[in-house]
């Protein structure tokens, strides 16, 4: 049926004679497979905290380091997907689970990841004594925590907003829960999920770099990777090595984007729910290559058939419609709520007990004071970044030519781990004897300001052209044009970008407010520096206090500022 046209045009010749496309595609596939194999092998090598392999500063060692860093990203992404599919599905399907899981998720995404790295490292190292798996898992877990929450949220939202007619169609075809998951739920959630995976990925590079080399008290760990390479370079004051690391990271991110995310976005385009044809189609040379290569198609076909068969299998844990009801709903709810409340009270009591024995009110006051300083910094930095990037973003976004050139760069900059650039900045501060209290601050927003830029560009380029033309034909004055047309138009996008930027700045404060160059230590004060110093000293109760204060500040800021702003933006932009 579908093949008829191909037979006529002779397209099936390609299936017999491998062409250049086959060669390139095969090389790509084999290359990736071999690299993954090598990376995995290295991960399970024996490991002892006392004698770790020395990190070499030779540029020739960098490709292998970069590979291992990329492997960690990949492993974390797989873990995040698994987490997303289970956690979010559970939350969407069970009302009682939802009551607990969603608030937990909401809090988890506000907790600064770098803050609790010290706990997880100690935990995982103890879990796998004498094996590299321990610290590897700790690093992967850190990246996982930077990626999983928003993916799970996106998937949960999608599951909750499946259109009624598709849901009814699926039910009227009597699909099993398994069939429904792969036929309806995952495809429907796909565009949002892929977008969030990209966002997660670009945030993840920062944390992979930060989590490879870590020292908590006496425990010193340096996993072979770009992050450790940079850490070693800092310790030895080797600016050239930092330059090499920046280059290696750039190459790794570009490859990752081209070979993995571009193809995925282009492929996921078919899951778009809008029934209208789109004007712009996401393109990917790698995907085109794979699609056109006859060899890949032939090799891939059994795999595709197996996957399709798997999705069609009528697996179901419970026969559908046969939900047993042992207790009346209200009694069940009351029991469940009682259980949750009991658990919460116990945990609260345990925390108060423990904290009371090791912390004093003076400690809390100190942490809160530092928190206020960091809060002021974050607020000022986000405001400054907005003042700079909003006009530039609008300027770029309104010019399609410019957008197509600037947007990839801004997305790359957002993904690039800014902590690789810190040594350069610190070198300059030391060299020119600048005040660290002021000049360390910009580092906090160095990596995340780009989120504001590329969201504003996206907003401005999505701004309906008839609105702009109307404004132009009425000759609206510039000031009014900004205030009443452009700013409201990009506002929802700006808020999205600003939320990400401010969340990132909080996280970055832990590595930016206290930095080293060789044996020189620069400190700007603030909560980030507080957590960093306590981590270096291995002082767990005070680390926990710092993390808790920061979480509370982030959650408060989200609740009182960002969420109302976001709701306001959504309400105002609706036409119906």
């Amino acid at each position: 049926m579908e093949q008829h046209a191909e037979v006529l045009t002779g397209a099936n010749w390609q299936q017999r004679v491998p062409g250049w496309r086959d060669l390139v595609a095969t090389l790509l596939v084999l290359g990736v497979v071999i690299l993954l194999g090598v990376g995995t092998h290295l991960m399970v090598a024996p490991f002892a905290v006392e004698h770790q392999s020395e990190i070499s500063l030779s540029p020739t060692a960098l490709p292998l380091y970069a590979l291992r860093t990329v492997m960690r990203m990949l492993a974390a992404m797989l873990a995040s997907l698994l987490f997303t599919f289970t956690y979010a599905t559970l939350a969407a399907k069970s009302r009682r689970a939802e009551m607990v899981l969603i608030p937990i998720l909401d809090v988890l995404q506000s907790v600064p990841i770098l803050g609790y790295l010290s706990f997880t490292v100690a935990f995982f190292v103890a879990l796998f004594p004498g094996n590299t798996m321990g610290p590897e898992l700790a690093a992967i877990f850190a990246i996982f925590t930077s990626q999983a929450w928003n993916m799970a949220f996106s998937f949960y939202q999608s599951l909750r907003t499946i259109p009624t007619d598709l849901d009814e169609a699926s039910r009227s075809f009597r699909e099993s829960a398994w069939q429904r998951f792969w036929r309806l739920e995952v495809p429907f959630a796909m565009p949002g999920l892929i977008w969030n995976m990209m966002m997660s990925m670009s945030g993840g590079w920062f944390f992979v770099v930060a989590s490879e080399a870590i020292s908590v008290g006496d425990l010193q760990i340096a996993l072979p990777g770009v992050g450790s390479y940079v850490a070693t370079a800092i310790a030895r004051r080797d600016l050239a090595a930092v330059g090499w690391a920046i280059l290696a990271m750039t190459v790794a991110i570009v490859l990752y984007d081209q070979l993995m995310f571009r193809p995925m976005v282009a492929w996921a385009d078919k899951f778009r729910f809008e029934q209208t044809a789109a004007q712009v189609f996401p393109k990917s040379w790698a995907l085109d290559l794979f699609r056109r290569s006859g060899l890949i198609a032939r090799v891939g076909r059994p795999l595709a058939i197996a996957m399709r068969g798997g999705a069609r299998a009528r697996l179901a844990l419970l026969p559908s419609g046969a939900t047993r009801r042992v207790l009346p709903q209200r009694v069940g709810d009351a029991l469940w709520l009682g259980l949750v409340a009991g658990g919460l009270i116990y945990v609260g009591w345990a925390i108060v007990q423990y904290a009371g024995s090791v912390l004093s009110w003076g400690d809390v006051r100190l942490a809160a004071g530092n928190g206020a300083l960091t809060l002021a910094r974050v607020a000022i930095l986000v405001a400054l970044a907005s003042l700079i990037w909003v006009p530039i973003g609008v300027f770029v976004g309104l010019r399609p030519e410019l957008t197509s050139r600037v947007q990839p760069v801004s997305q790359f900059l957002a993904a690039f781990p800014a902590n690789l650039l810190f040594p350069v900045a610190v070198f300059l501060i030391v060299h020119f004897r600048l005040s660290p209290g002021i000049w360390l601050c910009p580092l906090m927003i160095l990596g995340t300001q780009w989120y504001i830029l590329f969201n504003v560009i996206a907003g401005a380029s999505a701004f309906p052209s008839d609105f702009r033309e109307a404004a132009a034909s009425f000759r609206v004055r510039p000031w009014r044009w900004w205030r009443e047309i452009m700013l409201p138009g990009i506002f929802p996008y700006y808020v999205t970008g600003a939320i990400t930027a401010s969340g990132g700045a909080w996280n970055a404060s832990i590595v930016a407010e206290s930095v080293n160059w060789g044996s020189t230590n620069l400190t700007a004060g603030g909560l980030g520096a507080y957590i960093a110093q306590k981590t270096a000293a291995g002082d767990y109760p005070h680390i926990a206090l710092g993390v808790a204060v920061m979480s509370v500040l982030v959650i408060t800021m989200n609740r009182l500022l960002w969420r109302p702003l976001y709701a306001y933006a959504e309400r105002r932009m609706r036409l119906d």
Partner: protein, 435 residues
């Protein structure tokens, strides 16, 4: 053709359906419904919006469980979606990420067929419904008519005994709907379908008379069987036939009398405060009154006729007629609409005069609007939150209807400059001029 001795395919008896009110009580949407679909017939469910006809269809499909009553499908109680029942949706409900072929194969997922057998059956369904050549297209590449053909193929591929259709043609333009309707009837009349019976929801009176062997008219608030009409005409039917017209007129008469009755009974509760308002913009009423006053109608018309002349679907026409009746600009009786004296004045007034007259009638005949205005007058701030009035409405009407009624009241009051409404603060207030 309807045959009362034919074997029943699905029988719904004593069906009640209640939804939960925000205040915790229950709100009935269907009450005591008995409907049986027999072998060999197309049964139509006709009714205004809010009469619960789509809910009833979903109950028959096992997609919704009724609050009370039982559903017997081929001599066994129905528990959830069953083999042999297929649904065609108003919105097509196609999976946008699957091709036409894959969408049709979806209808066979539950059947555990071998892959090649499923492919063969899907292809023959695609052939049957006139989609050949489009197998590899994605839904977004198709026009509305072709999309609904996929919807039909997907429903028919499983060889259903009972076909449920939820306003299958209402999302299509007139011409496309007509073609698809005719194609479907050809297959049905020519016995090319394995399907034994069809239950179809529609709001289009002519469509019901064109396709159905029997029509069940549902009344609203709560939904109940108001009348049952047989259509003893042979297929293919002719719209210009006198017998055809007679049945259409009869249904118009039934629906209008149900409507005026319902409005009368609602005005008894709470002094008419919770009376449901038809969803129609005030400016639209003016346009209709002008057309009705002008020749050839001269102030009086049969609904079926004016619907054809003005190319208004009955879904559009009924709210207008109901609103004019409610505001006493016109009178509805037995399928005809007649302008009152006030209605004639309205037709001839300029825009300011029209607004003045509309305002007088709004205060007199729509207690909700009058009540809101009174509250605003009494308050020193001349403002009041919407929630205050809405809550009361929601106690007596389903939430969607309450919202619709509120929106209509706001539109009418804005037109009449009786009061204004601020959606951002969700509150009513008086214009400075009006205060």
């Amino acid at each position: 053709m309807f045959d009362a001795t034919a074997e029943p395919i699905i029988a719904l008896s004593h069906i009640d359906m209640n939804f939960t009110k925000p205040s915790g009580g229950t709100l009935p949407v269907l009450s005591g419904i008995d409907v049986t679909v027999h072998n060999g017939e197309i049964l139509g469910l006709l009714g205004r919006s809010g009469s619960g006809k789509s809910t009833l269809l979903r109950i028959a499909g096992g997609l919704i469980k009724p609050s009370a009553g039982n559903v017997v499908y081929r001599n066994a109680p129905l528990a959830g979606p069953a083999e042999g029942i297929a649904v065609v949706f108003q919105t097509f409900a196609l999976y946008p990420w699957l091709t036409v072929l894959e969408n049709v194969e979806l209808g066979l997922d539950a059947a555990k067929l071998r892959a090649d057998e499923a492919r063969r059956r899907a292809m023959s369904a695609i052939d049957l419904i006139g989609l050949d050549g489009f197998q590899s297209a994605y839904p977004r590449e198709l026009s509305g008519g072709m999309r609904q053909r996929v919807g039909f193929a997907r429903a028919l591929v499983s060889d259903p005994i009972l076909l449920l259709m939820d306003e299958p043609f209402s999302a299509l333009d007139v011409l496309t709907a007509e073609t698809l309707r005719t194609d479907f009837l050809d297959l049905w009349v020519g016995h090319q379908l394995p399907t034994k019976a069809v239950l179809m929801v529609t709001h289009n009176i002519e469509e019901a008379v064109l396709m159905c062997d029997r029509i069940v008219v549902l009344g609203a608030n709560p939904g109940h069987v108001a009348a049952e009409i047989r259509v003893p005409l042979a297929q293919p039917r002719n719209r210009l036939d006198a017998a055809f017209h007679a049945i259409v007129d009869e249904i118009y008469a039934i629906l209008t009398s149900r409507m005026t009755e319902a409005m009368g009974s609602q005005s008894q509760i709470h002094g008419g405060l919770v009376r449901q308002l038809p969803e129609v913009a005030a400016t639209r009423l003016g346009g209709f009154v002008e057309a009705l006053a002008a020749p050839p109608f001269g102030g009086r018309a049969e609904l079926a006729k004016i619907a054809r002349t003005l190319a208004l679907s009955s879904k559009r026409l009924f709210p207008i007629a109901a609103a004019l009746h409610l505001l006493e600009f016109a009178e509805l009786e037995g399928g005809t609409i007649k302008l009152t004296a006030a209605g004639r004045v309205l037709a001839q007034s300029d825009i300011d005069g029209r607004k003045r007259l509309f305002r007088q009638h709004l205060i007199r005949f729509v207690p909700l609007a009058a009540h809101i205005r009174q509250v605003l007058d009494e308050r020193e701030t001349h403002a009041a939150p919407r929630g205050r009035f809405e809550y009361e409405l929601e106690d007596h009407l389903p939430r969607r209807e309450a919202d619709r009624t509120m929106r209509t009241a706001i539109d009418w009051a804005r037109y009449a400059e009786l009061f204004t409404y601020n959606d951002r603060t969700r509150s009513f207030s008086l214009d400075r001029a009006a205060a």
